[in-house]
């Protein structure tokens, strides 16, 4: 195995500037959407007192969950000592920070009073899982920042494993915290399950790795650097395992819920007669977002094909967004059980309606654009990417 040399991307091509301009347009559209929503108030959105968290939360939580997952590649290298992943560690840390920044931007800009962010930073209620999350997010920035420094600075390299373990632990707690936002809402039947926390952790593995693979393949293709099959095929296999693990957790969650009579109504809603939510669950989350990617990753016809791996990663990301849509919006649309044993004729109940608006969608997509623009710029200014990941460079056991 030869020494890994890291190098900035040139970032001078027309393609680079076109990509930046395209992302910039999405960010501007997001800001326009935010101005429109904040100026008029949330009545211009599809959100209401029944669906209090809408499409922006779907994107925000997706990005936050994916962020912690994107750090896994670095963790596998430093915590679990798999040398082949080591050259990817810097990029892994960067993608993690960028996704978190994008997600938090969306979350904050959807607040009723985003101008009061300072209140959220100075007034803490330590009983609130939300308040813990604020600390966990800030801590993630700090720890991953230090982790990157340990990796970049040669004389600090020796500490990178210790900091890597700390970062890995922190990201597990962070995603547990994000899942727990829902896990402890006792009144909402779709959420009240401790299962939510580990399920979010597993979801983060899959979504984060899908993002990472797309960014890795795109940046190597566009900068005409070599990226060997040894690394790509390993990442591809890992992605398949994570997607299967998410499916397992989803199955346990729903089967477990079905066992309890009190939850048969909400399960029926998700799995059988929930209209758009049922369709999104089966066609979007299960088939398009899980089964098709698994087939693409493992079937002999498509296995090892970069385009198919890219397609699988895109489908996993779309499937992940759909999954969070079903959890967040569907979970609120289904009414709370206010009077067990009674039927509510008037005043509350029924499936709450929600139609996302363009402004909400643009805010969400703007979050993804912020993440991508951060990565694109930073790999231009700092040496995040190895100049080559060809098999003879990356794979210690490569027989060439």
């Amino acid at each position: 195995m030869s020494i890994i040399r890291y190098e900035q991307t040139q970032g001078k091509s027309l393609g680079f500037y076109a990509f930046i301009a395209g992302l910039g347009a999405f960010i501007l559209a997001a800001l326009a959407g935010v101005y429109y929503m904040e100026h008029n108030g949330h009545h211009v959105t599809g959100m209401s007192n029944r669906i209090v968290w809408g499409l922006p939360h779907v994107f925000a939580l997706f990005l936050i969950v994916a962020a912690s997952g994107a750090l896994n590649v670095a963790s596998i290298a430093s915590v679990f000592q798999k040398k082949i992943y080591k050259p990817l560690s810097r990029l892994s840390g960067l993608v993690a920070l960028a996704l978190l920044a994008g997600g938090l931007m969306v979350l904050v800009l959807d607040l009723g009073r985003p101008d009061r962010l300072i209140v959220a930073m100075t007034e803490y209620n330590f009983n609130s899982i939300f308040a813990w999350n604020i600390i966990l997010y800030n801590g993630f920035f700090a720890i991953v920042g230090v982790y990157l420094w340990m990796m970049f600075e040669r004389r600090m390299n020796k500490y990178s494993r210790t900091v890597g373990i700390a970062a890995f632990t922190w990201r597990l707690i962070l995603t547990t915290g994000t899942g727990s936002i829902f896990g402890f809402l006792v009144a909402r039947q779709a959420y009240d399950a401790v299962m939510m926390a580990p399920m979010f952790v597993i979801m983060s593995f899959a979504f984060g790795l899908a993002f990472f693979i797309l960014i890795l393949m795109a940046s190597y293709k566009w900068t005409e650097r070599q990226l060997g099959d040894a690394i790509v095929n390993r990442l591809s296999n890992l992605l398949g395992v994570f997607v299967a693990a998410v499916l397992y957790f989803v199955a346990v969650y729903h089967v477990g819920n079905l066992y309890l009579a009190e939850n048969s109504g909400v399960e029926n809603f998700f799995l059988v007669d929930g209209g758009i939510y049922t369709q999104l669950f089966w066609y979007g989350q299960i088939i398009l977002g899980s089964l098709v990617p698994l087939a693409l990753l493992y079937s002999p016809a498509t296995r090892g094909n970069r385009t198919m791996l890219g397609l699988a990663s895109v489908l996993i990301i779309i499937g992940g967004l759909v999954q969070l849509y079903v959890i967040i919006i569907g979970g609120q649309a289904y009414p709370m059980e206010l009077f067990p044993g009674k039927e509510i004729l008037e005043g509350y109940g029924g499936i709450a309606a929600y139609t996302p608006t363009l402004a909400e969608l643009m805010l969400g997509l703007g979050g993804i654009a912020v993440s991508l623009i951060a990565v694109t710029y930073l790999i231009k200014f700092l040496p995040f990417l190895p100049e080559s990941l060809a098999d003879d460079v990356a794979d210690p056991h490569h027989k060439g």
Partner: protein
């Protein structure tokens, strides 16, 4: 009468102005100092509560309660908000028993839980419970995250979806923040009953200190069978119901 020269004029006016200031600050001081005299300081020796008897409460009673609340607090005139976006601090709920088909009508609002989930989840301490059990939102601290609305088991809270005008001076509301029934805390602190309670002429709704053995609510609760909505959640609500 002595002729007023320039020096005297200045002296007199200065003294008078000083007097006004003194009186004015005296008034201010008196206003703040007088509050505890009007009603006792907020302590946990009291727990304000409400008992709603659905056998006695008529549908028109409930409409009166809703109207009184709207009038007192100035909600319900939102012009842009539609459907579920409109504020609803108190609402009429009609329920039918699945087995017996018996129908009950009740007024549903913030249940002023002893263990309020909204207060637990609020990241900034904007949702809070007073010592006397009244659950409120501090609109200066609320960042509009709506986590409390996710956590409330009673669908009792509203988010202000639009810019508001003509608000009541005792009840400032604001776009982008969350609000709910305050149990008319501004009236309770002056020794008055909440607006919805006052709007019902019968004893279908009783308001008072749950802890005070001489209060009507305490005595009635000792006699009649009552229930808490979602009692299984162990939130120990301040609003109780009988007849459902």
């Amino acid at each position: 009468m002595k002729e007023l020269n320039r020096r005297d004029f200045i002296k007199t006016t200065t003294a008078t102005s000083a007097g006004v200031v003194t009186i004015a600050s005296g008034i201010t001081l008196t206003t703040y100092a007088a509050r505890p005299k009007e009603s006792d300081p907020v302590t946990n020796e009291k727990r304000w509560g409400m008992l709603i008897d659905t056998n006695k409460l008529t549908e028109s009673n409930i409409d009166d309660m809703v109207n009184a609340c709207q009038e007192e607090h100035g909600w319900g005139n939102e012009t842009h908000s539609t459907g579920d976006q409109k504020a609803g601090w108190i609402k009429k709920v009609k329920v039918k028993d699945k087995a017996t088909e018996r129908i009950s009508n009740l007024a549903l609002m913030c249940q002023h839980c002893e263990e309020p989930p909204c207060v637990d989840v609020c990241p900034t301490n904007a949702s809070m419970k007073r010592e006397d059990g009244i659950v409120l939102v501090d609109r200066h601290l609320c960042i509009g995250c709506r986590y409390c609305m996710m956590a409330c088991p009673y669908d009792a809270r509203s988010f202000v979806h639009e810019t508001l005008t003509d608000q009541k001076t005792h009840m400032p509301r604001g776009k982008g923040t969350v609000e709910a029934c305050t149990m008319c805390v501004h009236k309770v602190d002056k020794g008055e009953a909440p607006a919805c309670v006052a709007s019902v002429n019968s004893d279908a709704v009783v308001f008072g200190d749950l802890y005070d053995p001489t209060s009507k609510i305490n005595q009635t609760l000792k006699k009649v069978q009552s229930t808490q909505i979602r009692a299984d959640l162990n939130l120990n609500t301040g609003v109780r119901y009988s007849g459902i």
